[in-house]
Symmetry: C2
Subunit: 130 residues, 2 copies
């Protein structure tokens, strides 16, 4: 089965995270993208997102590994919702599966850019009052 172009972008992002290739990584995000760094802390725009990934790399002793263990893409016009099982691990963190949520936008040249990157999914609601 042909892969959705967004799957390839996510694969590229995961490889860039592992290789700490932040130039490639940041190209995948739109100018006003939001990254959930951890619940309660967001980074907005390429400068903040790059700094966040640099800090994350240091926090995990430059051993962070990210891969997808299942993915579903819902496309509507120039917007796509990605529902994924994302597995993260590092020398100081056992493999952890997250129910991640990503939103992508298709730009004029047909490329898909990440607009919202929330690898924590519904964990953001923990501790929230209804």
């Amino acid at each position: 089965m042909t892969k959705h172009p967004i799957e390839l972008v996510i694969k590229k992002a995961d490889t860039a995270i592992v290789q700490e290739d932040f130039n490639t990584l940041i190209d995948i995000y739109s100018a006003d993208a939001v990254l959930v760094v951890k619940p309660g802390m967001n980074a907005t725009g390429k400068v903040q997102i790059r700094k966040a990934f640099e800090a994350i790399a240091t926090h995990f002793n430059h051993t962070l590994h990210v891969e997808q263990a299942g993915m579903k893409i819902l496309e509507a016009g120039d917007t796509a919702l990605v529902i994924a099982k994302t597995v993260v691990s590092a020398s100081n963190m056992p493999a952890t599966e997250r129910s991640a949520i990503y939103v992508f936008k298709k730009i004029a040249n047909g490329d898909w850019l990440c607009q919202i990157d929330n690898s924590y999914g519904h964990e953001l609601l923990l501790g929230e009052k209804p």
Copy 2:
């Protein structure tokens, strides 16, 4: 705390579903919106979405009730990701909490429209092979 405008739109949608006011309900969706009717079945565009809601209302003996029990909104440019605990019930279905995911888009006049409506969240991945 002031409510995010999207919270008000979702409240309006929930009320419209309960009242089977499909004209109001369909106004909340963009022209190319996608609704997950159930895992494996999507409706695209206002005509299909309206038909789906009419069928859902009949399926639940016109007793469907929908409400939100927690919500987090991540805004990035003209796109917003909504992570919600959505509780659905009906005379023939006990109250069921779903980890719902909605994507909204801001249009030129500042209104937010629903672009992707996936009340099943990560349930779409059940049974999927990695």
